[in-house]
């Protein structure tokens, strides 16, 4: 079963928060992107199968640290699965599917200042990535030739990014050593979005 809308997602997260609190689970803070973040932040409304976790968040003396290379704790995943069974969802309805993004590309600059923090009781905090960061991540996903068409659809029909947002996202994607093939893929994605003025600026 899927989440139909933001209420479904919020309902699942609230129940997860209750179960974690009841079970005296270690409090956890997550960064969430994808369709569930689009819904909850009212950027777009569409069904989604899961809640995509980019990383867990740890507050340190030196500031926020995003842990993308550690799996979600087993005890936490067990409670997620139980809540999933309560709601007719898959056991892994909340998962670290997109964790590789941070591993390979890092976070868009300023992402942690832009995200929207929601608390579901004392044991669960979810930081939903902002619209601009969704543009970054969706553009990256859409540039993958093997990616599902929903990423491009999200951009074209739901997020409808501005020129400035696309320009910022492209700058982030190219702000590293990139292959001609990668640049070509980004160019194609930007063209598909109808921003020829930006795609023309992407080097060969």
């Amino acid at each position: 079963m899927s989440f139909r809308n933001a209420d479904d997602i919020q309902g699942a997260l609230q129940r997860l928060g209750k179960r974690l609190l009841y079970d005296y689970a270690e409090p956890i803070s997550l960064v969430v992107c994808g369709g569930s973040a689009l819904n909850v932040l009212n950027i777009a409304s569409r069904t989604t199968r899961d809640v995509d976790v980019l990383a867990t968040v740890v507050d340190t003396a030196n500031g926020i640290r995003l842990l993308h290379d550690l799996p979600l704790p087993k005890e936490f995943r067990d409670v997620v699965a139980e809540v999933g069974r309560d709601l007719g969802l898959e056991d892994d309805w909340l998962n670290m599917g997109p964790k590789d993004v941070l591993e390979v590309y890092g976070a868009p600059p300023g992402m942690t200042e832009r995200w929207e923090r929601r608390e579901y009781g004392p044991s669960l905090t979810v930081n939903f990535v902002s619209r601009l960061d969704q543009v970054h991540l969706k553009l990256l996903a859409a540039a993958d030739p093997k990616a599902e068409p929903r990423h491009l659809e999200d951009l074209v029909t739901r997020i409808k990014p501005t020129t400035e947002e696309i320009r910022t996202a492209v700058a982030w994607l190219l702000d590293r050593r990139t292959s001609p093939r990668f640049r070509e893929n980004v160019r194609r994605a930007v063209e598909a979005l109808g921003y020829d003025n930006i795609s023309n600026d992407i080097p060969e």
Binding site: R15, V83, R85, D86, G88
Partner: protein
């Protein structure tokens, strides 16, 4: 209105305790019960389960001790150990303490051995044996019972009433005891009980249902077949063993008595234990309707296979169609159905 955790826990516990009490009364515990089931009573799973649930009913606990003094010789302590360890049913510390206390009264080695097995597996620390709702006050001026103290359980002195009767071997419910009296306490007696009260089965399945080693059950069945006590039908690569129903019931049961229904007590007590523990683990001060529902769904999912396969006729609904809190009324209805089935008569098969 939603049933509260406390209301449900109290009602459920009372019904489970009534059910257990009824079983003990049918095998000789002094007491009255309206329950008159027609199931074969299997003493080891019943005793194991009782050691856990009767911690909420001091009177029942002590009447069972009384029963063990009179009828303990019918208990297969080896099987009890296996059941407790494999099925995780019963309270190991309480069983150890009971065995230790019995070894003072019965000089046979079996209670001593059981006491040793249990002390090796679990030791609690100064925990009250009986809960607040067990009918005994928390404070007592009398010295604690030493056998129980050794197992980390605190309770006052045991005063056996000596009211227990010997097991009534003429009662068809007690065919397992009679079979043990005839064949001796061991695999052979219990296999025979199973065969006489059912349509028979395969060695592996019988071993599983009775909680015995598969190879040893196979040996016993092969011996019985060789002696012409049971018939064997090859079904593919397995052998189906069956007792000659015209012959054996007349030996093990009184004339014209109704054969009791076989119930898989191991499955039943495993399933009930799963629910019992989840119910008692609930913190009513912190569990809202969702948490209550969620925990009970988990419990019923874990108990479902055991309850459905125990041989008692009740229905447990598929929870998939009832999301989140909507499951709670379904759970309450299903538990009500289970308890109704357990506290009304089982069905009979045919007359011996």
């Amino acid at each position: 209105m939603t049933t509260s955790v406390t209301t449900f826990r109290n009602e459920f516990s009372e019904r489970v305790l009534n059910f257990v009490w009824g079983q003990w009364c049918q095998i000789g515990v002094a007491g009255s019960t309206t329950l008159k089931s027609q199931w074969v009573i299997d003493p080891e799973p019943l005793l194991a389960f009782t050691t856990e649930v009767a911690r909420h009913d001091a009177r029942m606990f002590d009447e069972v001790l009384d029963w063990l003094v009179t009828n303990g010789r019918w208990i297969n302590t080896q099987r009890l150990t296996t059941i407790v360890k494999q099925n995780k049913v019963g309270d190991m510390a309480a069983i150890g303490a009971i065995a230790s206390w019995l070894s003072d009264k019965d000089k046979s080695m079996k209670w001593r051995g059981l006491a040793r097995h249990m002390v090796a597996t679990e030791q609690k620390r100064g925990e009250a044996l009986f809960g607040a709702q067990s009918g005994v006050s928390a404070g007592t001026t009398e010295p604690p019972e030493t056998h129980f103290t050794q197992y980390g359980l605190l309770r006052g002195p045991i005063r056996s009433r000596g009211m227990t009767k010997a097991v009534n071997m003429k009662d068809p419910l007690n065919i397992m005891f009679k079979s043990r009296a005839v064949f001796g306490i061991g695999i052979r007696a219990d296999v025979m009980t199973y065969l006489v009260t059912t349509d028979g089965g395969y060695a592996r399945r019988i071993a599983e249902i009775l909680g015995y080693n598969h190879m040893r059950v196979t040996e016993v069945l092969a011996g019985m077949a060789e002696a012409g006590m049971v018939t064997v039908h090859a079904a593919g690569r397995t052998k189906h063993y069956r007792a000659e129903r015209e012959k054996w019931p007349s030996v093990l049961l009184p004339e014209r008595s109704v054969i009791s229904q076989w119930v898989n007590w191991q499955s039943l007590t495993r399933g009930l234990t799963t629910i019992w523990r989840e119910v008692w683990a609930l913190d009513e001060s912190r569990a809202d309707v969702y948490v209550f529902s969620s925990k009970m769904r988990k419990a019923m999912q874990a108990a479902n296979d055991d309850l459905q396969s125990c041989g008692v006729d009740f229905a447990i609904e598929d929870d998939k169609g009832y999301l989140a809190e909507a499951y709670l009324p379904v759970f309450l209805r299903n538990v009500d159905g289970v308890m109704n089935a357990l506290t009304t008569s089982g069905s009979s098969t045919f007359e011996a």
